[in-house]
Structures are given as structure tokens and as C-alpha cells.
């Protein structure tokens, strides 16, 4: 019946007490780990190395200084996934390591790529520009390598310019746009006005939004390109009402601003009282700190402990890439690129990834099929696919390029 002094209140003393206890737990846990590690040593050991090729990304200038992109955006997720793989691997005699391979922004010399591909590591997670990714995938030395792309959202890389040795864990623009369109149909907000930024990612997302609108019967009543010569920090409240005044009446204002430049100033400043969606407001994302169901709170807290910040979309896509490889190694007891690739593209592969449904890869273009949360900054609003959007094989295939419309032909032949 003794009550420990730690358990009586939520005072600062109690917090220190908990910290002390946790510290003891950590030390004794390490000791036990050594024992259990030795006990398992009889299993055939398998050391798995993954290269994380991380190209610097040229950030376009943005109006706001808030929310800078963290230095370890993406990579931090791969670190957590490697730790997860190692915890599992410890029971099977498998160990995982991640090597960070930095690349400068811009064009990458073929010799640089060949040097990376010549290191004898055939499992690569790519956090690169579309051009550099494609260039690496097409090097002769890459033919026997498996590249899991955890950055690019390009639709063309999953379609006409797909590559047999490249899988994708970041959802495409088309998947995100379809998710948003399904939500809008569900809400019957089917009359859109649209504002489109001038950078290439903005244009790509806008293309995907137009295609989704057509696919799901949504009318884009008017569209305006964003002007770059306005200082929104000072005058959003005076400029934006005028900028949006000429739009015909609409249900929702959709914004394509993938470079995070101007869209944050739009909500609350529109001429008509309408919700904002797309890159801002009601947003379709692969991941957000607001995702908490299906055990997601555990991943969020694990990530926060490891990285000291909240988990961003690129972190989650990189976590998926490294976990998918880990799952394939665990299930097949092989770390060779052909075995991992074959397993990932097979019906046997499924990954629990805190989104309420199992994730797998589309075997016609190598893209991961996954639910897309529709979020606002502080909560999940809905998760696509929305109820009622049916599919003959998987409801997840209502998002993005489906098999009948795919122009990817590289997956008919065997890969690496």
C-alpha cells in the first residue's frame, strides 16, 4: 500500500522523479539487450545497408520567414525507420544501417552518380530532384539497384517516364489531388475557383487538380495566376480581397502553392467568405502532425523524441521507404535488390503504417498505394478514399493513376 512520492501529484518534483526512473529503465534495458542479443546470436546474421542519397533542394524565396524547411527534412524519418528495423532485426539476427550521401543542388555529374552506384550497396532511398533521380536510375550501373524514391511527387515519373528500378513512397500530385476532389464531392463543394503559383511544383499540382476536377465532376469556374510582386505580410488584408473579388461565386477557393510562398495569407482575406483548400487550409497530405489515429500517436512521439520536431510529409515518406525495405528483408531473409523488389511488388507485401489500412505497391508503376489524410493544421478532417468511392480491386486505387490509364510499360518486364 506504499505510495511512492512520485505518484502523488503532477508537480515538478514528480516530473524529476519520472525522469530519474526513466533513466534507470534505460540503463537496465541496455544491459538486458546485451543478454538477449547474445542469446539470439545463433541466427544467421544479415547486415543490411541502405544509402540515403540526399540532394540539396533549391528553395524558392517565400514571403514568410515562418516554418523554414528543417535541415534533416526526410532524413530524420529514415533514421527512425532504421531504428524500428533494428529493433525487429535484433530478434532475427538482422541489422540495418543508413548511410547519408549528400549531393549538391542542381545538375549532378554522371561520374558522381556512378561513384555512388559503385559502392556495392544495391538498396537506395532517393531524396532527390526529379531530373537527378531519373539520371541516376538510367545509369547502366543502376540496372541491378533498387531505388525507393521518397521525395518526388511527379506524375510523369509514375507514368510515361517510369523506371523499373524505381519505386515511390511519396504520393504523386495526382493522388493528393484525387483525395481532395473526393472530399469536395463528398461535401458537395463542387464549384471551385483556383489560384495557381508560378513555380514548377505549383503548376504540376494545378495540372493534377484540373485532371481530378474533370475525373470527379467538379467545375473550376475561374483560375488566376498568383502575382509575385505583392508583400502579403504587410498588405494581405488589403490586396487579397481585391485579388479575389472578380471570381464568380464558388464553393471553395483552391490554391496551388507547393512552394509555401503566398497561400498562408489567403484564409480570412478572401472577398467572399469561402473555405480555402489545396496547398493551404483543407490540405491533402501524405502525413501531418495532426494524424493521431490508428496508433499514429506512437509514431509521432517516437519521431519527436528522435528528431526534436514534428514529423513532416518528407519524413514520413522516407520512413515508409526504409520500413518497406526492412519489412521485405524481415519476411524474405534476403537483402538483395531483386529479392526485395520482387517481394515489395508482390501480393505478399503489406505494411502497417498508421493510416488505418495496409499499404502496398502498385505493380504496374511502382507507386505506393496509401490513404491520404485531408487535414487542417490542428486536426484531420477526413481520410481519402472517402466512403462511397468504390473500386473493383482496391478503394485505394481510386487515388492517382489507375492501371487502365497508366502509360508505364517498364513493369511488364522483370526489374533488377
Amino acid at each position: 500500500m506504499n505510495m511512492s512520492p512520485c505518484a502523488t501529484s503532477r508537480s515538478p518534483i514528480m516530473r524529476r522523479c519520472i525522469a530519474a526512473i526513466l533513466c534507470c529503465v534505460a540503463v537496465s534495458a541496455l544491459a538486458l539487450f546485451a543478454v538477449s542479443g547474445a542469446a539470439q546470436a545463433s541466427a544467421a546474421p544479415l547486415a543490411v545497408k541502405i544509402l540515403y542519397v540526399r540532394q540539396q533542394i533549391e528553395q524558392a524565396p517565400t514571403l514568410s520567414n515562418l516554418d523554414p524547411v528543417p535541415e534533416d527534412d526526410g532524413y530524420a524519418g529514415a533514421i527512425v525507420a532504421t531504428a524500428d528495423n533494428n529493433t525487429t532485426g535484433a530478434f532475427l539476427g538482422q541489422s540495418f544501417s543508413l548511410e547519408n550521401v549528400p549531393l549538391p543542388a542542381g545538375e549532378v555529374a554522371p561520374e558522381t552518380l556512378d561513384e555512388i552506384l559503385g559502392r556495392g550497396v544495391d538498396l537506395i532511398v532517393a531524396d532527390m530532384s526529379d531530373a537527378a533521380l531519373l539520371k541516376m536510375a538510367d545509369r547502366p550501373k543502376a540496372a541491378a539497384v533498387l531505388i525507393v524514391d521518397a521525395r518526388s511527387q511527379s506524375d510523369v515519373l509514375r507514368n510515361a517516364r517510369c523506371r523499373a528500378n524505381v519505386l515511390h513512397t511519396m504520393p504523386s500530385y495526382a493522388m493528393r489531388a484525387d483525395a481532395l476532389a473526393q472530399f469536395m464531392v463528398f461535401k458537395r463543394w463542387t464549384r471551385w475557383a483556383m489560384i495557381v503559383g508560378q513555380h514548377a511544383p505549383d503548376q504540376s499540382f494545378a495540372d493534377a487538380l484540373r485532371a481530378s476536377a474533370k475525373k470527379f465532376g467538379i467545375s473550376i469556374l475561374a483560375e488566376r495566376p498568383w502575382l509575385e510582386n505583392a508583400d502579403m505580410r504587410r498588405s494581405a488584408s488589403s490586396e487579397l480581397p481585391l485579388f479575389t473579388q472578380d471570381f464568380p461565386d464558388h464553393d471553395v477557393l483552391v490554391v496551388a502553392d507547393e512552394t509555401d510562398d503566398f497561400a498562408r495569407y489567403i484564409p480570412g482575406n478572401t472577398w467572399l467568405p469561402r473555405p480555402v483548400a489545396g496547398s493551404e487550409g483543407i490540405s491533402p497530405v501524405v502525413w501531418s502532425p495532426a494524424v493521431e489515429n490508428w496508433g499514429a500517436a506512437q509514431l509521432q512521439s517516437r519521431f519527436m523524441k528522435s528528431a526534436g520536431r514534428t514529423m513532416r510529409p518528407a519524413d514520413y515518406a522516407a520512413w515508409l521507404a526504409v520500413r518497406a525495405i526492412g519489412e521485405a528483408v524481415t519476411r524474405t531473409a534476403s537483402a538483395s535488390a531483386p529479392d526485395v523488389r520482387a517481394f515489395l511488388l508482390s501480393d505478399a507485401f503489406e505494411l502497417a503504417a498508421f493510416k488505418g489500412r495496409k499499404l502496398s505497391f502498385r505493380n504496374w508503376n511502382g507507386e505506393m498505394r496509401q490513404p491520404i489524410p485531408i487535414v487542417q493544421p490542428r486536426a484531420v478532417i477526413a481520410t481519402a478514399p472517402l466512403p462511397g468511392f468504390l473500386h473493383q480491386f482496391s478503394e485505394l486505387d481510386t487515388l492517382g493513376l489507375d492501371r487502365p490509364e497508366s502509360k508505364c510499360t517498364k513493369f511488364n518486364t522483370e526489374g533488377p
Binding site: M1, N2, A7, V25, Q298, E350
Partner: protein, 320 residues
């Protein structure tokens, strides 16, 4: 000081034991337990407990109720007669589920955030052992003879088999994606394991830790990947298993001899855990998203009534 909220006091309250015939339900997002009179099928009391209550079980003599207060990193011990918290045990980080050894003393606790299983003397609060397990340990069970404890790890996708005498892992079995719950058969020969995201229940042979049977479920009009098994309960006579199917909103009834699915019973939304009451005449499903429990008549295999409890009820324990 703690404030006790007493809701409607209805039906018979046993003269000898105030808690007789009650189902205690942990409400994850209300920080309370709801007490359901299983005869009157009404909530008779609601008691405040620690933060984010999830795993819930009685001591074998029913004199104490143990509750994982996950966000307080402790186990609350309640007096079922008064509903008051009589002790709190520091459990290691984020306790989610636990199982009480037949010796009525050793509590095996899954520390979800720490990839750790903690064995604690629940009478004294002494930590007897900490065992490294896979990522996000959740399901926890102790064999009827007390020799084996198992823990399932949700992201590692394994069952870890622990020798309770040595308090060490002696085997690991890979199972389906996101294993949530493990349940020994009453004869101790089988272990039933549910995999929430994999969508299957695997029946393992305890002697060899190998697969006997993999069960799959199909309900007309429900998308296959929304069939997500979680809670499992097996009847004492070894004839039937009940499996809660999560967002499929049904409980499956399995013939444990033929492994055929006998029936799907519609209950509330996002059903996770199950508990027998009244000598297995009834089984209650705990429905998280609809915030209620559904009483199922075991002989007729029909839902009788759903009873509103707190927000996001997680699990339940019965006091006979």
C-alpha cells in the same frame, strides 16, 4: 481530492459485494471508468481515473481493479467497492495492455512507447524485470499454467514468447501486420493472435510456436481492408471464439474445432475489446467510435442492447 461522480444507481446491488455483476469499462478519452450493471444493462457509476485509461483487469480475487493510465505512465489500482484509486504504481512509459499471472502478483505490462515489457509485483510496485521486445508492444497474455507470457509488437509484427521463470524471451514468431491481441486457449495449447492491419487471426501451437490455422473474415458490403481484428475471447468449454473486427463494426463468432466462421454480429462502431459476463451467458463488445458497449447473448449469438458509456471506451473487465 478526488471527486466521485455517481450516476444512476439502478437495479440490485449485491449486499455482500457492491461490485457483483458489474462490467468495468475504461474510457480512453474521458479519463474515467464506466461501471455497467450487466443485469439491468445500465451504467450505475462513473469514476475518475488517471490519464488515457486503456488496459483493464481485476485481480483474481476481484478485490482490486488494475488500469493502465497510459499518459500518466502508471497503473492505477482501484477498490471496486468504492471506485476510489487506492494506489498508483509507476509502470514504465506508456503502459497500454497488461496480463496478470495466475499467481495474482506478477503483472506483465506492455510499455508501448519504450519497446519494453515490464514485470511488476502489483502488490508492492516492485519492478521484477524489464524485457526488451519489438516496436510498440501491445497484446499481452500469460498461459493458464503461468509458465509462458507472450507480448505482440505492433510495428515489429512479432509474438515474443517469454519464459516467466527466467523472465527472458525464448522464441519469436513473425505474424501478420500490426498484431494487437493475444489470447491463450483455456487448455493452454493454442495461442490466438489478431493482426489488425493484416486482417487475420493466426492460431499458433504453443508447444512449437508454429502456425496451426490462419483465419480470414469477409462481410458483405464491408471493404476487406476495413476488417481489422483486435480483441479475442474464447469460451471456457473450448467451443467458440469471439473476434472483434474494429471498423468493420462486427464481432465474428468462430467454431474453434472446425475454424469455420459461424456468425457476424453487428455491434457499435470500431469495436476493439470483448469481455464475457455472467458465466459466459453474455459477451460485451467495447465500441470505441460510438462510445458504447454492446451486450451479446452467447446462446443466441445476437446483440441484445448497446449501452452508452464514456468517450472512446477501450476495454472492459467483469466482476462476477
Amino acid at each position: 481530492m478526488r471527486i466521485v461522480f455517481l450516476a444512476v444507481l439502478a437495479g440490485f446491488v449485491g449486499a455482500q459485494d457492491a461490485a457483483a455483476g458489474q462490467l468495468w469499462v475504461s474510457n480512453e478519452k474521458d479519463n474515467t471508468v464506466s461501471v455497467v450493471d450487466t443485469q439491468a444493462l445500465t451504467v450505475v457509476a462513473t469514476y475518475p481515473v488517471g490519464l488515457r485509461p486503456r488496459g483493464i483487469t481485476f485481480s483474481h480475487d476481484f478485490k482490486e481493479l488494475y488500469l493502465c493510465a497510459s499518459d500518466d505512465d502508471q497503473i492505477d489500482v482501484l477498490d471496486p467497492a468504492s471506485g476510489l484509486t487506492i494506489r498508483r504504481l509507476t509502470s514504465g512509459e506508456d503502459p497500454e495492455q497488461f496480463a496478470l499471472h495466475p499467481n495474482d502478483t506478477d503483472l506483465y505490462i506492455a510499455n508501448e512507447d519504450d519497446a519494453l515489457a515490464t514485470v511488476m509485483n502489483v502488490k508492492t510496485g516492485e519492478v521484477l524485470a524489464e524485457i526488451n521486445v519489438g516496436v510498440e508492444p501491445e497484446g499481452m497474455a500469460v498461459s493458464p499454467d503461468g509458465t509462458i507470457a507472450v507480448v505482440t509488437s505492433e510495428t515489429t509484427n512479432m509474438v515474443h514468447w517469454i519464459d516467466t521463470a527466467k523472465k527472458q524471451i525464448f522464441a519469436n514468431t513473425l505474424v501478420g501486420q500490426r498484431p494487437r491481441h493475444a489470447e491463450f486457449s483455456h487448455d493452454g495449447k493454442q495461442l490466438w493472435v489478431s493482426s489488425e492491419v493484416g486482417g487475420q487471426v493466426q492460431v499458433l501451437d504453443v508447444a512449437t510456436q508454429s502456425l496451426i490455422k490462419e483465419l480470414h473474415f469477409a462481410i458483405g458490403g464491408v471493404s476487406a481492408d476495413l476488417i481489422q481484428p483486435v480483441g479475442i475471447r474464447l469460451t471456457a468449454d473450448g467451443s467458440m471464439a469471439f473476434v472483434a473486427l474494429g471498423p468493420a463494426n462486427h464481432v465474428a463468432v468462430v467454431d474453434t474445432k472446425s475454424f469455420a466462421i459461424k456468425r457476424y454480429i453487428l455491434v457499435g462502431a470500431r469495436v476493439w475489446h470483448l469481455e464475457f459476463t455472467d458465466n459466459e451467458k453474455m459477451i460485451f463488445s467495447v465500441n470505441g467510435a460510438s462510445g458504447d458497449v454492446t451486450a451479446i447473448d452467447v446462446a443466441r449469438l445476437e446483440a441484445v442492447k448497446s449501452i452508452k458509456v464514456g468517450r472512446y471506451p477501450w476495454g472492459a473487465a467483469y466482476h462476477p
